[in-house]
Symmetry: C2
């Protein structure tokens, strides 16, 4: 199963930028990487109201849209990221979660000021420490 | 494996409305149903430019967003709906494709004027014929 790590921090702390750098480095080392972003307030609108897929998703648990080079899949799901890891990212070496500040039982990288446990880092200058932390057993 | 049928017809021929009625009827009969919409021109925008998931999808083959009650998953994919059926909808009894006018080897329901082979129907009044066609071996 993949190594799973969550990257947490306040809004605009630089989480996604750190994750981009992490991914570049992990890919360079030959790892297959997955990513799950937390959207606890449902701000991430991923379909248009009244689109065909939106209409059909009201009736079914899982629908998809196949566009040039890209599949979008929507599925009814509880907020349980480890289930998503098992179901969709089990072929990855590392899965990076963005968010889930208070989730127990996984490694956590804490960016900037935030009162939770984990590896505390300031930014991209700490990339190597983050990599070591993720890859250690 | 699921029974797979494509519903084809011109724009605004009523495909999605027919599919909604089909799904209601199939669910009533106890069938689990899946749905894949064809977006050959990429008009179905499912993420915002510059969102965190959009940024990370530039680097990875598969990313996801977990919102309240809903997972959105994006994956790099060729235009091969049967692969999507196998990978994501193999637990369904019936998978309805919307579009793919010229795909070979699957059942096709043709709504209105369109010069392709298949079961020709006019609209919701033909629902029972469509159901029989989908469920027959």
């Amino acid at each position: 199963m993949p190594k799973v790590v969550s990257i947490v921090g306040h809004h605009n702390a630089g989480k996604t930028t750190l994750i981009e750098m992490l991914i570049h480095e992990l890919i360079k080392r030959g790892f297959k990487v997955g990513y799950i972003k937390h959207d606890p307030k449902g701000h991430g609108i991923t379909d248009k109201d009244g689109s065909d897929t939106d209409r059909i998703f009201k009736l079914l648990d899982k629908v998809s849209l196949l566009s040039p080079g890209k599949l979008t899949l929507w599925e009814r799901r509880e907020d349980a990221p480890m289930d998503v890891v098992y179901d969709y990212f089990s072929d990855c070496h590392v899965v990076i979660l963005e968010g889930w500040k208070s989730m127990k039982g996984i490694k956590r990288v804490v960016l900037g000021e935030l009162e939770v446990d984990g590896l505390r880092v300031e930014g991209p200058q700490d990339l190597q420490r983050v990599i070591d932390y993720i890859l250690e057993d």
